[in-house]
């Protein structure tokens, strides 16, 4: 359940980042197409960029989760009132398999979304984009 939620959050973050990365750069992409970038080159570029972003996001996310985990477990800032919760710290456990699963899901989501965005971009008319974005 928690793993599923983590995957969902990772996927949504990747989706939002990719939409910003590619769809807001439609004019630049149209310019590249106009000067001679082929559809397959564009799709390849989007897939590489999107997947790379997924890999970097997963690596940074895992690293940050460890940093914050250590902070929460060892520093007094996240102490809990023991008489209320029967706990003095948030119980955290790093399970390598789960982290790997979330990372792999994030990278796969990035790849798939890049593919979908790429297909939509290569199908669109770059001339229309240039006409409307002056």
């Amino acid at each position: 359940m928690i793993l599923g939620l983590l995957c969902l959050v990772a996927g949504l973050n990747v989706a939002a980042a990719l939409v910003v990365l590619f769809l807001e750069r439609d004019r630049e992409i149209a310019v590249l197409r106009a000067v001679g970038l082929s559809r397959s080159q564009l799709l390849g570029w989007i897939l590489i960029q999107g997947t790379l972003m997924g890999v970097v996001s997963a690596a940074v996310g895992i690293a940050l989760s460890h940093v914050f985990g250590v902070i929460l477990q060892h520093l007094p800032i996240a102490e809990l009132p023991g008489q209320v919760y029967n706990l003095t710290h948030i119980p955290l456990k790093f399970v390598f398999r789960e982290q790997l699963a979330v990372s792999v899901f994030g990278v796969m989501a990035a790849w798939l979304l890049s593919l979908l965005i790429g297909i939509s971009l290569v199908k669109g008319s770059f001339l229309d984009t240039l006409r409307h974005r002056k």
């Binding site: 310019v31 197409r33 106009a34 000067v35 001679g36 970038l37 397959s40 080159q41 770059f126 240039l130």
Partner: protein
């Protein structure tokens, strides 16, 4: 200077194009027949909406047409695959838009070198040379928003020349410039034509500027 010949290398034959406008088919190009020889310096004149930009887009493979054909050095361009069409735009053609379409995050030098990077080539020295040639050697690192309208168009011209195209198509490049800046751009086009031997077809609605070209073609309601 490149050798100029009278060989026909760009030809439009019975070119027709229609647009769908509010559910109605509007004929923009009506049976256009046009022939350009290597080394031509031609102005394509016409009122707004006459179809001159559409014709230029078709000749430059930026747009498709409904019927007819465009030949480049005798080769029908509609028969080229999408990849070959992109290669044609990249290697043979230089296109300059009315709204320069420079990438705002890139410097003048990076904008000029951009088409070469698609070929995987590092042509920064050539980009600097071209910017020097268009009189912008002092603006290599400037971003488009730091340049005036005339300077932006000169960067766009340099970008169009980075892969040494044989054909340069310009679409109302002086449309947003004052008279003095327009004349500078025209002089630059003339210099490109005479020095590099590039065939140039320029769309303009400015009769005075068009008078400086070797040949003028007039388009009216989709017909030459």
């Amino acid at each position: 200077m490149k050798e100029m010949s009278t060989q026909s290398f760009l030809k439009a034959e019975a070119l027709c194009k229609t647009y769908d406008q509010a559910g109605e088919r509007v004929s923009v190009l009506k049976n256009i027949n046009l022939e350009l020889s290597k080394g031509d310096f031609i102005a394509l004149l016409g009122a707004s909406g006459s179809g001159k930009s559409t014709l230029l887009h078709c000749l430059g493979l930026l747009d498709t047409w409904d019927s007819g054909e465009v030949f480049f050095e005798g080769r029908p361009l509609s028969k080229l695959s999408e990849k070959e069409q992109a290669r044609f735009r990249l290697e043979k053609l230089g296109f300059v838009f009315q709204f320069h379409h420079l990438i705002p995050e890139l410097s003048a030098e990076e904008n000029v070198a951009l088409p070469a990077s698609i070929l995987g080539a590092n042509r920064s020295p050539r980009a600097r040379e071209l910017l020097d040639w268009v009189g912008l050697s002092h603006k290599l690192k400037s971003f488009p928003w730091q340049l005036s309208g005339g300077e932006q168009q000169r960067v766009a011209l340099a970008r169009a020349l980075i892969n040494d195209p044989v054909l340069l198509l310009t679409d109302e490049v002086t449309g947003n410039l004052d008279r003095a800046r327009s004349k500078e751009i025209l002089e630059l086009l003339r210099r490109i034509h005479s020095t590099l031997g590039t065939t140039i077809l320029s769309v303009t609605h400015d009769e005075e500027l068009a008078a400086s070209y070797d040949r003028r073609i007039r388009l009216s309601e989709g017909q030459l």
